[in-house]
């Protein structure tokens, strides 16, 4: 008998990313390849999305029995998740809407409510909600009254959120545990990319059946996701975010004018660079089609060091294989993510403090 693993180099690998955009490949996959794909998809929160796409093309029959149960379980958990998010959002509506506070759903919650493909098979732990800065206190207060309380933070972290960030500390429901990230801006006010929340509200469109909920303009959905992927100093869901961008761009590009409108909007908000970077990455990992008209107008992301680092940091790799390159790239980008959020005079003390604090806790544990 040959040793398992000997056949490793024989066939070219279907990557987790390409399975999502070309599910037809499922028909050609060996059990060995499925054994590598499932953990990779799961690690990046893409298993349920893959299940949806396989199901949509009636390809689940190609999946071997012992692998199929993972796709089925993931998609069942995801359906249940969607059900409970709809329900939680009704509670949010009765609480923020009831208090007359206009609010906008962002990211996963927005895709779901807008019925977009990016919402299919997407799990998320927090509902992202944007309110105007002037409504922030009132929103926090009314959410707290209805059970969503801030998680306990130490005074330093509390101040970090309050003074420098674009959201208040994460809220969790005291009984049900459902989590809300309450934002008052899309990017931190301390950042060089900061723009006014009002501009996002201006183009928002009302969510059917709700008095005060808004959904972002389609272009803003893409831009927000791009900024998010671009800013992240934590990369656990970055590949999933890119898959969202891929999905949004593919769906929205069915409208002829979309590419140009997207570019225009990115310029108006000063987000051309993050958009360019995000689209280049989405293209690299998911083959996202980009119209030439858009490509030629955006600043070139090619060959930038950041792009190379991000490619390395997001590389899904193979399960159970060491990821030194990825770790190194992520460490470098961690500092960058913070640098983009805060000016250096704020950043240096913050990272120093985080480092010292980590040493402290490690010493305590030892």
């Amino acid at each position: 008998m040959s040793e398992p693993g000997d056949s490793r180099s024989l066939s070219p690998d279907v990557s987790a990313c390409s399975l999502l955009t070309d599910p037809g490949q499922a028909a050609t996959l060996s059990q060995r390849e499925w054994n590598e794909l499932v953990p990779t998809l799961r690690e990046h929160g893409l298993l349920a999305r893959a299940a949806c796409r396989l199901r949509a093309q009636a390809l689940l029959g190609c999946v071997p029995r012992e692998t199929l149960r993972h796709f089925e379980a993931a998609s069942a958990l995801c359906d249940q998740h969607a059900l409970s998010v709809h329900w939680e959002l009704e509670r949010v509506e009765s609480c923020l809407g009831g208090a007359g506070i206009p609010y906008m759903l962002l990211k996963g919650a927005a895709y779901l409510k807008a019925g977009m493909k990016a919402g299919e098979g997407r799990m998320f732990s927090d509902m992202d909600i944007l309110v105007r800065r002037s409504d922030l206190r009132a929103a926090e207060w009314v959410l707290a009254e209805h059970g969503w309380r801030p998680k306990q933070l130490n005074p330093y972290d509390e101040r970090y959120y309050r003074e420098w960030m674009h959201q208040v500390p994460p809220l969790a429901h005291a009984l049900r545990g459902s989590a809300i990230d309450l934002h008052h801006a899309i990017v931190p006010p301390t950042s060089r990319l900061a723009f006014s929340t009002e501009e996002v509200f201006d183009l928002g469109w009302p969510l059917a059946g709700s008095r005060h909920a808004l959904l972002p303009d389609h272009r803003d959905l893409v831009l927000h996701s791009a900024v998010h992927a671009f800013f992240e100093e934590d990369f656990t869901s970055a590949l999933r975010d890119l898959s969202d961008i891929d999905s949004l761009v593919r769906e929205l590009s069915e409208d002829d004018g979309f590419a140009l409108a997207l570019h225009e909007r990115s310029r108006a908000l000063g987000l051309e660079r993050p958009l360019s970077l995000a689209l280049a990455l989405a293209h690299h990992f998911f083959g996202t089609p980009l119209e030439d008209s858009l490509k030629s107008r955006l600043p070139k992301a090619r060959n930038s060091l950041t792009l190379h680092l991000l490619k390395a940091a997001l590389d899904p790799g193979r399960p159970l294989e060491p990821r030194k390159r990825r770790q190194a790239a992520r460490a470098l980008l961690y500092v960058r993510g913070h640098y983009l959020k805060m000016p250096l005079r704020l950043l240096a003390p913050h990272l120093t403090r985080k480092l010292l604090h980590r040493e402290e806790t490690e010493t305590e544990k030892a």
């Binding site: 056949s7 060996s30 799961r42 690690e43 012992e66 993972h70 379980a73 958990l77 159970l320």
Partner: protein, 312 residues
């Protein structure tokens, strides 16, 4: 033609090590199949001790449910201390430990993975065993003596499904086995060390909950069950030092709540979780159960399974 090695113990030590280093060592744990990667020779020895009799799987041919890595940690500080870290699918749920804790780290790590990934079952934190295909579920948080009673029942000839999980298949409602050693703590460890036919891991391990050792079973009666079983009894346990054996019928609604509260994934399964738990509780006799003497408790469950057989 040479027959391929069937169990983990059939592998020559250098083959086992090389498979482990390449991350292609895979073996069946009953309801799930796992693979592992590690450069620690210690882990190879530990696997041979605990999982020697387990059937091997081939990751090129068989479905693998998840993989685990036990190795030197990424942090320089951890490396300097010579610690080992557990990782699975990019997540590291535990603090690094010293290499001599590799066995409990593997066991906790596998449990953690099962609780997260085996979602084609309704999973309940409970011991589960059967006799003649009729299964007993013993839910209970740590400290209620469920592992000890579970070990005593296995010693009396029951077949083990799992000492930590009740895995109820969402497809057929049967309870599926997990071939993992019974974890014994402190006094229970001493109690079973002296018994005949009990093979404990050579080492025991200090943990926050005290000293831990693992009882590695064989397959069949008095060991790991090779087959799923039909849920028949649910017994909520409480160990009360010095108290006489006390058994009461438990209301089904109460049994339902107890199991739901002890479940890892009841709420994320939604309606399917509800209907699967509902059918199981409907089909089971439910008890509330206080005990101090282990032998009395075992005799009670033996009677129960006998009566059940007689009336069937």
């Amino acid at each position: 033609m040479k027959t391929p090695p069937a169990t983990l113990a059939d592998l020559a030590p250098h083959v086992l090590r090389s498979r482990l280093e390449k991350g292609v060592l895979a073996w069946r744990l009953g309801a799930v199949t796992v693979r592992a990667r590690s450069r620690l020779a210690l882990l190879g020895e530990s696997l041979r001790e605990i999982y020697g009799a387990h059937p091997l799987s081939d990751p090129d041919m068989d479905g693998i449910d998840f993989g685990v890595i036990l190795d030197r940690p990424a942090s320089p500080l951890g490396r300097l201390r010579g610690q080992i870290a557990f990782e699975s699918e990019g997540e590291a749920p535990f603090e690094p430990l010293t290499p001599k804790h590799v066995t409990p780290m593997l066991e906790w790590g596998l449990n953690w993975c099962i609780a997260r990934h085996a979602n084609w079952h309704l999973m309940i934190h409970a011991a589960s065993l059967h006799r003649n295909g009729q299964a007993l579920v013993l839910p209970g948080p740590p400290g209620t003596g469920k592992s000890t009673l579970c070990a005593a029942l296995v010693h009396a000839g029951w077949e083990l499904l799992s000492d930590e999980f009740a895995l109820i298949s969402l497809d057929d409602g049967m309870l599926y086995p997990l071939w993992k050693p019974i974890s014994l703590k402190n006094r229970a460890l001493d109690l079973f060390r002296e018994r005949e036919s009990v093979r404990l891991t050579q080492q025991t391990f200090d943990s926050l909950k005290g000293r831990i050792g693992f009882w590695c079973l064989d397959f069949g009666p008095g060991g790991y069950s090779q087959w799923p079983a039909i849920p028949a009894w649910i017994a909520q346990l409480e160990y009360r030092p010095g108290a006489p054996l006390q058994v009461q019928q438990m209301r089904k609604s109460e049994a339902f709540l107890t199991l739901a509260q002890n479940s890892f994934n009841y709420s994320s399964l939604g309606e399917r979780g509800f209907s699967s738990l509902f059918s199981m509780v409907e089909a089971c006799e439910c008890f509330d159960f206080h005990y101090s003497d282990l032998e009395n408790a075992v005799a009670l469950f033996d009677d129960l399974s006998g009566e059940r057989r007689a009336s069937a």
